[in-house]
């Protein structure tokens, strides 16, 4: 019983701390690596929720592909001022906006509101006992039976994204 709390507490702490560091990291490359860490810990939480398939996908897509893509973008986009972002003097107003007081408040309010809604609503708090867990085979089956159209649309979306990215970034090689 306490093991679950313990592990969830640890993973949650890591996720939130790395997410916070993504915002406050001085160097953008560090931010990218903190993001990778947060993705990994979220995948840990998925494992806790006994969803191995989604945990593996999370690592594969988020921690692997998207992080690398962002790192490549960082390298290509700002080779020049990558070293240190200039910390020029900023007025009080800017500093407040930069420190994100406003946004933190919005975020907290949002989080508080959501937890209030869960708490008040009559959604059963206790989880359904460990019913037959989902196997990958079932997910695959429903994916290709009930969700074939969304699946095709998603693949077209990916194709479009690829073509768009290539057209946008391809240098005119002679």
């Amino acid at each position: 019983m306490t093991a679950q709390y313990l592990s969830f507490g640890a993973l949650a702490l890591v996720t939130l701390w790395s997410a916070y560091k993504v915002v406050t990291a001085r160097l953008i490359t560090h931010a990218a690596l903190w993001m990778a860490l947060s993705f990994t810990s979220v995948s840990g939480i998925f494992l806790m929720l006994q969803q191995e398939f989604i945990a593996a996908l999370q690592v594969l897509i988020y921690a692997g592909a998207i992080t690398t893509m962002i790192i490549f973008a960082i390298m290509l986009s700002s080779i020049r001022e990558i070293r240190v972002e200039p910390q020029e003097k900023r007025s009080i107003g800017q500093r407040i906006r930069a420190s994100g007081l406003l946004a933190v408040v919005v975020g907290l309010v949002f989080a508080a509101f959501m937890t209030y809604v869960y708490y008040v609503s009559e959604i059963p708090k206790e989880a359904v006992p460990d019913a037959g867990l989902l196997t990958v085979r079932q997910v695959g089956a429903t994916l290709f039976t009930r969700f074939t159209v969304p699946f095709e649309v998603a693949s077209i979306l990916l194709l479009l994204a690829m073509i768009g990215a290539i057209i946008l970034t391809a240098k005119e090689t002679e």
Binding site: Q4, Y5, A12, L16, A19, Y20, V22, V23, I28, A31, M35, S38, V42, F46, L49, Q50, Q51, F53, I54, L57, Q58, I61, Y62, A65, I66, I70, F72, A73, L76, S77, S78, E85, R97, S99, G100, V106, G107, L108, A111, M114, T115, Y118, Y119, I123, P124, K125, A127, V128, D130, G132, L134, V139, L143, P150, A154, L158, A161, A165, L168, T169
Partner: protein
């Protein structure tokens, strides 16, 4: 799962909150994309918590998360391509300096 439901849900919300806070404060375009990814992560977490707590045998949860992830990947690649073009034409990646349409 003896963990009450609003623990993971709370975490998802907080994750979303931090993403939102980052997106609103930072000015580097690439970093804002990172925050969008964080927000989507928060969404995924919510999705999976509900699936695990209330409909564990139903496969729509993971499939929907799968779709969210594909959309996230596609969006990230297009976003980064656009950012590269901005860098190539405007020379900067700071969002508030890219104000060509300003009145």
């Amino acid at each position: 799962m003896q963990l009450p439901i609003y623990f993971p849900l709370g975490l998802g919300a907080l994750l979303f909150g931090i993403g939102l806070w980052g997106a609103l404060t930072r000015t580097n375009a690439v970093r804002i994309l990172m925050f969008i990814e964080l927000m989507l992560n928060g969404v995924n977490l919510n999705l999976m918590t509900f699936t695990r707590y209330y409909y564990p045998e139903n496969a729509t949860g993971p499939i929907l998360t799968l779709f969210v992830m594909t959309v996230a990947a596609a969006e990230a690649s297009i976003g980064l391509a656009i950012i590269l073009q901005i860098v190539r034409n405007r020379g900067t990646v700071e969002v508030d300096k890219v104000d060509l349409l300003k009145g």
